[in-house]
């Protein structure tokens, strides 16, 4: 299929439709408005449902309702709205419902800034809601990757009966790039029919209940199963790009838009003879721990965490794996100010000079 020039938000929305998503509910917030706007036109064309909810809270609960029916459903928002959706995301996890939640993130905390930022790493990876559940967090760095991950997200969500989170930033949401769109899948409840509440007109089956409340003994069992699931993700579902790390003395760690800028600097520095590489987590959760254990710490002089947020949020996860074997530096921009090529190059160079 030919590549088309598409805007980030619209590419993600189209990829979701092609993955069989037939339900969207959301609430306006910059910089993700192009997702609901696009789907308000697109979903009716394919027999899907679009609802502009009265709030983010209501919208995520509409998605919850649709998911009980075995319909591939999604919602999207940005930081302030994701905070409101936290309740519903926890209920989705509790009720073991698949759904896709997209965060096109902006500057925070609070209303923060409508400009791009990677300010929601901790929220996405540690606690998207109360109760100690986790979700897979995908962090694409190009629109093609955003399209591909969106397309796969529903399969993961249904396989695990757990919501999946796509973390972009305002920059990837607004940028236009060439993407190759995947083929259109027919919607199907094949993966969910064992438990969903859909019923064909003349179908008879025992009654089913999907609830977010459990007797103590069952809740503990469910939580143990969740723990096992998260461990399985770490073993089997980590996605990461390891770029020139074999002989690296300097290892940059970055994800999403920050990784684009960082990679450009890494390439330039390699051309100039520096032994530098990059670890790019594509799944922020499960975090690519093994990539850090592969490094030859006899050689590694510095780990440089580059994020579009201040203070760095991924640093703690990196530190847990590096275990003091190399010093960790951080560089970022915040408040809606963007990283740029030269500034990032200079920041890495400063570290190189400092550690020698």
């Amino acid at each position: 299929m030919a590549k088309v020039l598409m805007k980030g938000c619209e590419a993600v929305a189209e990829a979701a439709v092609r993955a069989g998503c037939r339900f969207f509910a959301g609430y306006p917030i910059t910089p993700q408005n192009e997702i609901p706007e696009y789907l308000s036109r697109r979903l009716p064309e394919v027999g899907g449902v679009f609802i502009q909810g009265e709030s983010e809270v209501a919208s995520v609960n509409m998605v919850y309702g649709a998911a009980t029916m075995g319909v591939r459903a999604m919602t999207s928002s940005s930081g302030p709205g994701i905070s409101l959706k936290a309740e519903g995301i926890s209920y989705l996890a509790s009720c073991k419902l698949p759904a896709l939640i997209v965060n096109v993130s902006r500057g925070g905390p609070g209303l923060g800034s409508i400009q791009p930022a990677q300010s929601d790493y901790l929220q996405a990876t540690k606690a998207l809601g109360h109760g100690g559940f986790r979700v897979m967090v995908f962090a694409p760095y190009t629109l093609q990757e955003a399209v591909d991950l969106t397309y796969q997200a529903f399969d993961y969500a249904e396989r695990d009966r757990n919501p999946v989170f796509l973390l972009m930033d305002g920059c990837l949401g607004a940028i236009m790039e060439l993407v190759e769109l995947p083929e259109m899948k027919e919607p199907s409840d094949e993966n969910t029919k064992k438990w969903n509440l859909r019923k064909r007109p003349d179908e008879k089956r025992p009654a089913r209940a999907l609830t977010p409340i459990y007797p103590e003994i069952i809740l503990e069992m469910e939580n143990k199963t969740r723990g096992e699931l998260y461990k399985k993700w770490e073993r089997e579902d980590v996605k990461v790009e390891e770029f020139m790390i074999d002989d690296a003395e300097y290892v940059v760690v970055a994800y999403g838009i920050a990784a684009r800028v960082a990679k450009e600097a890494v390439i330039t520095l390699r051309e100039q003879g520096y032994k530098i590489g990059m670890i790019r987590p594509i799944t922020l959760y499960p975090f690519p721990k093994q990539s850090f254990h592969k490094l030859n710490y006899d050689k590694v002089k510095a780990i440089i965490d580059i994020e579009l947020t201040i203070p760095a949020q991924m640093r703690d996860d990196i530190a847990l794996e590096v275990m003091g074997r190399a010093p960790i530096f951080e560089y970022g921009r915040s408040g809606g100010n963007l990283l740029d090529d030269d500034g990032t190059y200079d920041a890495i160079m400063k570290v190189i000079k400092e550690v020698g």
């Binding site: 809270v57 609960n61 009980t68 029916m69 519903g88 509440l197 019923k199 008879k204 009654a207 609830t211």
Partner: protein
């Protein structure tokens, strides 16, 4: 002799043959029963989809036989919206208490009603937060005591009890809005008919239907069951007046 007996009453199919865990004298179980009867009279046992709320009425999970979805506090109308839009043929109803519907879930109920979502909301108004231990509800009467208004609800700081049926009836979209009191056999019969009518209208695609049921909470009101029924006649029903507030089938 035995074959001359005629069966005139049985437990509705949609109610599980188990003991109710509701407090003695609580009208929740009666409300559950008349909903089940309405479902059965319309032949919708297989088709009904029950959205469970938070609070005492969430116990319906243990007594209801049929498909059920548990919703977060106040969000039942949003969950029902997602369900009904995906499966328009199902008979979808949410059962919500007063804190759930008239406080934390005001945005959801007003918006679902205003969109004219084609499902039914049954609102159990007992003037208290039952399961959490009897705190003031948005529907607690002026002067009525609760664990957070030990001297009785005061207008000065807590405002007035909120009249949901009247508010919903003001909207353009709803098709049927009515309030019934479950403290007398007459009220129960009217309520059963009202619920059945709301369900029928939903099945006919007429839009949003809303039934407010005045109920009691002997435990948290600190009254005997009988006294609580009297209290309803003397106080609750004077403020929350039973009646049909909107019906598109009348005078249309």
């Amino acid at each position: 002799m035995a074959k001359e007996y005629k069966k005139i009453y049985s437990r509705p199919y949609a109610i599980m043959p188990v003991m109710s865990g509701y407090c003695p004298g609580c009208l929740h179980s009666l409300a559950t029963k008349i909903i089940a009867e309405a479902v059965e009279e319309l032949g919708q046992q297989e088709n009904a989809m029950h959205i469970l709320p938070v609070g005492c009425s969430a116990l319906g999970l243990l007594y209801w036989r049929g498909d059920m979805v548990g919703a977060a506090h106040g969000r039942a109308p949003a969950v029902a919206t997602g369900i009904k839009r995906c499966c328009p043929d199902r008979l979808v109803f949410a059962y919500q208490g007063d804190g759930d519907l008239a406080a934390i879930g005001l945005a959801e109920i007003i918006s679902a009603a205003n969109r004219g979502e084609n499902f039914t909301v049954i609102f159990a108004n007992n003037s208290t937060y039952g399961m959490t231990g009897g705190q003031m509800a948005p529907t607690t009467l002026i002067g009525q005591k609760s664990t957070t208004t030990s001297e009785g609800r005061r207008v000065e700081d807590a405002g007035y009890p909120i009249k949901m049926a009247e508010i919903i009836a003001q909207l353009e979209a709803p098709a049927y809005v009515a309030r019934f009191a479950l403290n007398t056999p007459k009220g129960v019969n009217e309520a059963r008919k009202g619920i059945k009518k709301a369900f029928r209208m939903q099945l006919e695609g007429k839009g949003f239907t809303f039934i407010e049921l005045l109920t009691n909470c002997p435990t948290n009101w600190g009254m005997s069951p009988l006294k609580s029924l009297q209290y309803m006649t003397e106080n609750t029903m004077k403020y929350f007046v039973p009646g049909v507030y909107k019906d598109v089938e009348v005078g249309a």
